[in-house]
Symmetry: C2
Subunit: 118 residues, 2 copies
């Protein structure tokens, strides 16, 4: 059991779109990620995914609309729903998702990374 | 899918130690709770429990020590571990836990409440 300071952990992340695991509970991982720019369209077959904006502003695009998340706001993207996160400026996000979650969901490409502990 | 603003939801909570559900993903609930004072000693048989301090300061007591969580810090209390949350001043906390979690864990007493959606 260790207290996790979100900003301390984020300060140790030097790249974008590469989620790092900071905690686990039951079958879930809590991850932190720095975002800037556009990600790829994808969905997760079985995993719902929570995004909580710690700093900055996240645009979550869906095929038919977009949701804007400011600091201190969260959104759950249910499994099966295609989405694309976009951050116009540097944005820090806490992710909560099942341990089985791959960052690019149903897609495997150059943006696919394994989440490791930080 | 709805964007949840943590502070807006917290402003609608008028009591202490009564977690409100603000989101669900897979088998987990995300809850918000206002804390002040001492809770009861308890543990959860199967559920790990995450505490993220949104405002204020949380002292998490264990039988052999205490961990202090400031704003922007989180801690996971594994299942089976006895704990007692204490907040010396008003403290706002985001909880993440399996849907089966009862606030008082293995104990049922006057502090036991059902979490409802807000």
């Amino acid at each position: 059991m260790e207290v996790v300071n979100l900003n301390d952990k984020l300060a140790r992340i030097n790249d974008f779109w590469h989620p790092r695991i900071v905690a686990e509970l039951n079958d879930m991982h809590v991850k932190l990620v720095r975002l800037e720019g556009e990600f790829v369209w994808h969905h997760h077959e079985e995993e719902d995914e929570l995004f909580l904006v710690v700093k900055g502003r996240l645009r979550m695009q869906f095929r038919d609309r977009e949701e804007i998340l400011e600091e201190g706001e969260l959104l759950v993207v249910p499994h099966g729903v295609e989405h694309r996160p976009v951050a116009d400026g540097e944005t820090h996000v806490l992710l909560l998702e099942p341990k089985t979650t791959l960052n690019t969901g149903n897609v495997r490409n150059e943006r696919t990374v394994e989440a490791d502990w930080i």
